[in-house]
Amino acid sequence: MAEPSTTLGLELHDASSRGLAASLHLPKQIGDRIYKGVLTAAAISVLLIIIGLLLELVLGSRQSFAAFGLKFFSDSDWDPNGNKFGALPFILGTLYSSFWSLVLALPISIFAAIFLSEVAPRWLERPISFMVELLAGIPSVVYGLWGLFVLQPWLVKHVEGPISSSALSHLPIFGDTPNGYDMLAASVILAIMILPYITAVSRDILRAIPRSVREASYALGATKWETIKGVVLPYARAGIIGAVILGFGRALGETMAVTMVIGNAPIFKLSLFQSGYTLASVIANELSEASGLYRSALIEIGLCLFIVTLLVNIGAKLLIYYTAQDINAVGRKG
């Protein structure tokens, strides 16, 4: 590039002329420096919020940790009046309801993703995709409302009643008399809530697979299902596992809908027909009235929830990220 000719009023601010421009046009350089500083500050604030959040949670749960130590996580006694706090029922309740929601949502969402990506014609695919996105946009509290007045009575009448009067009731997971406010209702509503996420992410991953891969399979005489099973799914496996973990992470942190149907009893039983409690629900119900050690115990539960969802999500993101890279790499080669 030629030397900046100041006589023509040209001002260059590219990296190539930074040194000269800096001396010639000081005011504008200052403007750009402020600009860069403001932008960087805004971007870094994300990091600050995450670090600040972690720090505040650790500080807030100090009192509880000093009182109970690691026993906090293995003790199942939750007695605010007697100042005894153990988080085990909440930890187990969260994992258990999320596990069952995954069992219910997993086959449906993966097959729905296959339908949207591999089977459905375009005129059908677009409105269904739109509806799945709508499903993801409904607030948790509205799902809770529906769960309370539609899902729960339906489950009691058509699922829990018949099962508990049949021989299946001897199984531990179907024991106890159903009352509606239970693990089953929470798991079903969680399943409906994570379904659109797993479906949408899996669909995007399936779509990213190059066409040539499928056509190679068809050319060898494979049927549609053989192509999906033998070529498409193995190709997308890591990414779909990532999508599923992402859905699991969402189920762990989901609060309102679960709080409204799970029964909020600080006990844990294997039976799906028994009331339970989750980490997020106990915070939602009790934090606003708590103080002292009680508050500190609830904040420690928040810390626990934060760390678990953080690890689960980072794992899922990395899986999806590397699958996308693989697909892109092969796509470029092909």
């Binding site: 601010h13 590219d14 504008k28 860069k36 932008l39 805004a42 971007a43 870094i44 604030s45 994300v46 919020i49 995450i50 959040l53 505040e56 949670l57 449906i108 969402s109 729905a112 296959i114 339908f115 089977v119 459905a120 269904i128 799945v132 709508l134 499903l135 946009g137 409904i138 607030p139 948790s140 509290v141 509205v142 799902y143 409302l145 529906w146 007045f149 409906i192 379904l195 659109p196 049927t223 549609k224 299902w225 992402l246 992470g249 942190g253 989901e254 609060t255 309102m256 409204m260 997020a280 915070i283 606003s288 904040i299 928040g302 929830l305 934060f306 969802t309 953080l310 999500n313 993101k317």
Partner: protein
């Protein structure tokens, strides 16, 4: 098939059996058709769940909505009547506070991601994704710890406030705004930026006068999507905005919100409050739907070709 001459050693029936798909091949095709059908059934279940939720809210809520719903505050428990005025106004106020906090950080952060491509900026982008997945209730605890508790210590008698709720919602907005802003700014042709820089404009001037106006529609889309995301947030408000039986517009006092109303009324034992919860759900869904549709519209009117 009649005009083809079979090899002398084969009889007609044998040829027919050779031309017919083998049992194995028929099984493969049936299996394929079945699994395709199963996948269609799975998609139907998802659509059915959506319709069940939407129709229940619509049918149950339409009858519960009246003028009173928008003009009346809550009445003492057990009494008939009452409306959601406090919650509707409260939600609008909370969304405004959240925008003031979340939008500048989100948009500027998105511009940062456009302007820089270093290992550090990619790490920041990863953390933006991480922040997006933090459960909203945990973000609520953060607002509770940095706003509600210090206020309660400094000014005894005060604790929960509209401002605290706005902080929680504002933080929740940041990652959505940041990612959509960045993605949309990347669509602005690099030549446009180069042209501006070549004319002697500084970088901030280029962003302000060329890049941002060209991407205006897309940025509006990001803002609307983020607002749609926080409009229905309930959990972080339980111990920040807290809810308020009295009408309130000041930021330093507890404030009602539509999602809080829905939660409290749905879990109450009173029939008329259940109807009010349904009415609230319709209004909330309407707000979210309008925001989502407007965001699509904004993107359509995008000037970038």
């Amino acid at each position: 098939m009649t005009d083809t001459k079979p090899a002398p050693t084969l009889k007609g029936a044998e040829i027919a059996s050779l031309l017919r798909p083998s049992r194995r091949s028929r099984f493969r095709r049936y299996l394929s058709a079945w699994v395709t059908g199963i996948s269609a059934a799975a998609a139907t279940i998802a659509v059915f769940a959506l319709l069940s939720v939407l129709l229940y809210i619509l049918i149950g809520g339409i009858g519960a909505i009246s003028l009173d719903t928008f003009t009346q505050g809550p009445v003492p428990q057990g009494q008939a009547g009452g409306g959601l005025r406090n919650g509707i106004v409260g939600t609008l106020i909370l969304m405004s506070i959240a925008s003031v906090i979340g939008l500048p950080i989100g948009i500027l952060g998105g511009v940062y991601q456009l302007e820089t491509n270093t290992r550090f900026s990619r790490t920041l982008r990863f953390f933006t994704d991480v922040m997006n997945s933090i459960p909203s209730i945990v973000m609520g605890i953060f607002a509770y710890l940095i706003v509600v508790l210090p206020v309660a210590e400094l000014y005894p008698g005060h604790a929960f406030s509209a401002f605290a709720g706005g902080v929680a919602l504002g933080f929740l907005m940041i990652p959505t705004v940041m990612r959509t802003t960045e993605n949309i700014l990347r669509l602005v042709p690099i030549a446009l930026r180069d042209a501006s820089l070549a004319l002697g404009a500084t970088r901030w001037r280029t962003t302000w006068s060329v890049v941002l106006p060209a991407a205006r529609g897309g940025i509006v889309t990001g803002i609307l999507l983020a607002l749609a995301r926080i409009a229905g947030e309930t959990a972080p408000l339980l111990f920040t905005a807290f809810g308020n039986l009295d009408f309130n517009v000041s930021l330093d006092k507890p404030i009602d919100a539509l999602p809080l109303n829905i939660f409290n009324y749905a879990t109450s034992p009173y029939e008329n409050l259940h109807h009010l919860a349904l009415a609230g759900a319709i209004i909330l869904l309407a707000i979210i739907l309008v925001l989502s549709l407007a965001s699509r519209y904004a993107l359509k009117n995008q000037t970038i070709e």
